[in-house]
């Protein structure tokens, strides 16, 4: 599974993109975040305040309780500020 990070989430995590192999039992975006946070202080800092985190599954906006079953690409980013 590919994980992408944008804006300050990318900066805090320290990478724009990575491929991960998830342990079994991780079924939702939230569970994925919990697992990522266990991987180091950069992840912990990035996901400290979940109110500021938005997610997309396969390039479509998704809630944090959405299922990630079958997903190829998950992205994390702050609320958007374009326009």
């Amino acid at each position: 599974m590919r994980i992408l990070y944008f804006s300050w989430v990318r900066q805090k995590v320290g990478t724009a993109e990575e491929a991960v192999t998830l342990p079994t039992g991780i079924a939702t975006v939230s569970a994925l975040i919990d697992w990522l946070k266990s991987r180091g202080p950069g992840y912990e800092a990035a996901f400290e305040n979940l109110k500021l985190i938005r997610a997309a599954i396969d390039q479509t906006h998704a809630d944090l309780d959405a299922s990630i079953a079958g997903a190829d690409e998950i992205a994390f980013f702050p609320p958007v500020t374009g326009g």
Binding site: H61, T81, G82, G83
Partner: protein, 152 residues
Amino acid sequence: MIRVQTQDFDIGAEIAALTHGRADIGAVVTFTGLVRDVTGGASVSSMELEHYPGMTERELARIEEEANTRWRLQASLIIHRVGKLAPSDNIVLVVTASAHREDAFKAAEFLMDYLKTRAPFWKREAGSEGDRWVEARESDDEAAKRWDEKGG
């Protein structure tokens, strides 16, 4: 029609291309967003626009399709720039064309409200207070929400 690009756009040329040879268009509305040199009290010397290639195009296409479902549009266009920009540079262009002005105005406002809350772009400003990621405005969320209630 949607486009994500680093280069500037020419509003007059875009309108002309969109309306050329169409005598069924009675109203064209454009919205242009520009880089301001002051935001929230801090001066801005330059801006960097990051985006999510792939999702950006999909999301813009989705927003445009939704506008065309809600209002009778003869044509529509969204252009959003990415990369490094300076104060007074163009950021975004939305054009809506319709037989009557009500549809063109409403659709343009809707496109901007949705783009502001759903299209994956992030602004980073450099200026008097160093570099900082622009924070999302609550007023943008509220502006987008009004379209949930009334159909248009």
